[in-house]
């Protein structure tokens, strides 16, 4: 099914935004003496490279770039894409794996070999002049997607396991975003793969199919997740926003019930915060807690709510 959306129209501006956002950060990092310390340097370079990969993965943009190298005997752009992608997938994930786990030789070999195979197959595509470039594009995208999918799949269970162990808010936020990154990455890769196979089988000429547009949107989502991961802390916490809003409204209902049972009215006639932003949602939760605590002394002790409320205010039931 064809899509009316030209993916190049949003992929190019987004990749430019990515660079504009990260170029100053990269230069800032270079000024520091620790920049050359692994894995910081490599990760930042990889993040920067992602802007290039983002463009090269788009069929339309890749074809336009390839037009400059039509005279050569190599599919230069395709090779560049496969090399950068393989590097990103293999070493980028490898460093994360090493950070989180014991040195796992089979997994590392698995990743390196996978990337190596992808690279070798790409070189086999040197049959370039004999095969239409469109097919080379599709095949190389599929190969990279397989490698991407494999790496993401190996990391998702590990990240979920780490998430269950985290009690610290910032770590939890990091792992949630990382999980989101892996989810979008693997979903995007799967869609690329299905779309690529379908295009090869049907010998499609029109690149912007609905499936492909969806895959590109997934890629935008994973770039966004990565931007949040690399960016300042304050963006990280937004992943908690839906949970905070839910807690706020639950507490608000509880507060109303507590005041009804206690036969009290809320003592202050002042505007309370509304959960429009993350910090105001957190403030709202805090305010609701204070309001409930204020009403607790007036709550009859024979109500079902009293022991529950006391339990949640552990160690301080003497109200």
């Amino acid at each position: 099914m064809l899509s009316p959306i030209n993916t190049a129209h949003f992929v190019l501006p987004l990749s430019l935004v990515w660079w504009i956002f990260y170029l100053p950060r990269l230069f800032n990092m270079i000024r520091r003496t620790t920049i050359f310390k692994m894995p910081t340097f490599y990760l930042w370079i990889m993040a920067f490279n992602l802007g290039i990969i983002f463009i090269l993965h788009n069929y339309t943009l890749e074809a336009q770039l390839h037009a400059y190298f039509v005279g050569t005997n190599l599919p230069v752009i395709s090779l560049l894409k496969v090399s950068l992608s393989s590097g990103f997938i293999t070493y980028g994930y490898l460093l994360v794996v090493r950070r989180y786990t014991e040195f796992d030789v089979p997994r590392i070999i698995d990743l390196i070999m996978l990337s190596y195979i992808v690279l070798m197959i790409a070189f086999n595509l040197l049959a370039y002049p004999r095969v239409p470039y469109v097919q080379i594009q599709i095949v190389s995208n599929c190969l990279v997607s397989v490698a991407n999918l494999s790496a993401a799949m190996s990391l998702i269970p590990m990240t979920r396991e780490l998430l269950q162990r985290q009690k610290n808010a910032v770590r939890e936020a990091h792992h949630l975003w990382f999980l989101a990154f892996l989810f979008f990455s693997s979903t995007g890769a799967t869609l690329y793969l299905i779309d690529g196979i379908h295009k090869l089988l049907t010998n499609a000429q029109h690149m912007d199919t609905s499936l492909y547009v969806l895959a590109e949107i997934c890629r935008c989502a994973y770039m966004f997740s990565l931007a949040v991961l690399i960016g300042p802390d304050r963006y990280l916490y937004w992943i908690f926003y839906p949970v905070r809003v839910r807690t706020f409204f639950q507490l608000k209902r509880l507060c109303t019930v507590v005041y009804q049972i206690a036969g009290e009215t809320i003592p202050y006639n002042i505007p309370e915060p509304r959960p429009f932003t993350l910090s105001s949602a957190e403030l709202g939760i805090y305010r609701m807690f204070i309001a409930i605590m204020d009403a607790l002394p007036a709550l009859p002790q024979d109500t079902e709510l009293y022991p529950t409320a006391c339990h949640h205010c552990s160690g301080t039931c003497d109200v």
């Binding site: 610290n168 910032v170 006639n269 105001s280 204070i290």
Partner: protein
């Protein structure tokens, strides 16, 4: 209630909210008011806290029997009373009995619900506390009031290699 007056009172504190901790904030209030501020927890019964301003000192008492989070909130609320000029200065000599001071305050509190002026002062103080808490939340320091764990420790997230601080 004059919300603008309360907001300007908070803004006039010129406090660095990104460094907020209750102790630091109390020290700052004492500096702003240019007089010692004594904050004491006492096992009171019946109400959460009170403030008192004598000729040379400010006092805040809060109920030690209440939840720790509520104790901190009470301190903020009482600081608000001090900053908004809700306290009547007591001309007490050095030998004054703390008990009589408490009795004085207790009487005042007891009449509070029926007194519209005191009711307005209570609203203003609570609004002051909300504004302060809003600044604290915006600077991601609410954990100082909720006494929750926060990532002040060094953490190496997957892609940055930078330490992440709670500030």
């Amino acid at each position: 209630m004059d919300t603008k007056r309360v907001r300007s009172a908070v803004d006039s504190l010129n406090y660095g909210w990104h460094r907020f901790s209750m102790l630091h904030f109390i020290e700052h209030i004492a500096t702003v008011r240019q007089r010692p501020l004594h904050v004491n927890g006492v096992p009171l019964a019946g109400f959460s806290g009170m403030c008192l301003s004598t000729a040379h000192n400010d006092y805040i008492f809060y109920n030690l029997r209440y939840h720790a989070i509520l104790q901190l909130h009470t301190q903020l609320h009482e600081i608000a009373h001090l900053m908004l000029g809700h306290t009547r200065k007591l001309d007490l000599d050095r030998n004054s009995d703390l008990g009589s001071m408490l009795l004085h305050i207790n009487n005042r509190i007891r009449v509070a619900p029926n007194d519209p002026i005191v009711k307005q002062e209570e609203d203003e103080a609570e609004y002051f506390a909300i504004v302060v808490q809003g600044y604290i939340a915006n600077h991601r320091r609410l954990h100082q009031l909720t006494l929750s764990d926060h990532a002040d420790d060094i953490y190496m997230p997957p892609f940055t290699g930078n330490s992440v601080s709670g500030g």
